[in-house]
């Protein structure tokens, strides 16, 4: 039973398209995140939601918009995809107590052609 699941696992799409990545967690965690792992393998936070409320919004193009319909879901919608958006995107969740660390999904590899 997957704790943090994100779909799709692979996504290949053309420049200019709009796409969404879905994330769901069944851990009862209050906080969810979207991370981007770039070509240099750095993990960079994009967004963080706590109980459906946006609490972190790093410098990310407006083309990226997170949506949290409830505290178990955090979806990422990307408009007008660009070549530079190609990366692996990870969803994660955590308890308020950071000592327990984050639980990550298995990632979505986005390739923009």
């Amino acid at each position: 039973d997957t704790a943090v699941s994100q779909t799709p696992k692979y996504l290949v799409t053309q420049m200019g398209n709009d796409k969404s990545i879905k994330c769901e967690q069944n851990l009862g965690h209050d906080t969810m995140y979207w991370y981007k792992q770039d070509s240099k393998k750095f993990l960079k936070i994009m967004f963080s939601y706590n109980n459906k409320e946006l609490i972190i919004n790093e410098t990310v193009p407006n083309r990226f918009s997170p949506k949290s319909p409830d505290k178990a879901h955090l979806n990422l919608h990307i408009n007008s995809l660009e070549l530079g958006d190609s990366a692996v995107y990870f969803c994660a969740s955590s308890l308020p107590d950071r000592t327990y660390g984050y639980t990550f999904g298995s990632g979505t590899r986005l390739t923009v052609v």
């Binding site: 393998k41 993990l43 936070i45 972190i56 990870f90 950071r98 984050y102 990550f104 298995s106 990632g107």
Partner: protein
């Protein structure tokens, strides 16, 4: 400006020996440090953590050491096993005015355990 650095992109260790992965940080206000392990095509998984009030935390074969004066932490794996082959990420966090509790990540070290 990288606040968390893992200067070794890769490390190769013989099975059964000790693996030592290093991590340096620049912000002395970080107060919590974590290690994550990542296999290909999977998300990172939490391995072990340490609070800045401690200098050592042990969990089975894994021990994390923290040297606050040197702003350095290390992960020791002993004995190393083939299943330990993965990328290891170091991460740090601080309170609201430091990192707003968000994790600041190193670039990772790829550990290869040779049979």
């Amino acid at each position: 400006d990288q606040q968390v650095k893992q200067n070794s992109p890769s490390l190769s260790v013989q099975e059964g020996r000790i693996s030592i992965l290093n991590c340096d940080y620049t912000n002395s206000m970080f107060d919590y440090f974590l290690w994550y392990k990542k296999y290909p095509a999977e998300g990172p998984t939490f391995l072990i953590s340490i609070s800045s009030i401690k200098d050592k935390n042990e969990d089975g074969r894994f021990t994390v050491f923290l040297n606050k004066s040197a702003k350095h932490l290390s992960l020791h794996i002993v004995p190393s096993q083939p299943g330990d082959s993965a990328v290891y990420f170091c991460a740090a966090s601080g309170e609201v005015r430091v990192s707003n509790y968000q994790l600041i990540w190193g670039a990772g070290t790829k550990l290869i355990i040779k049979p």
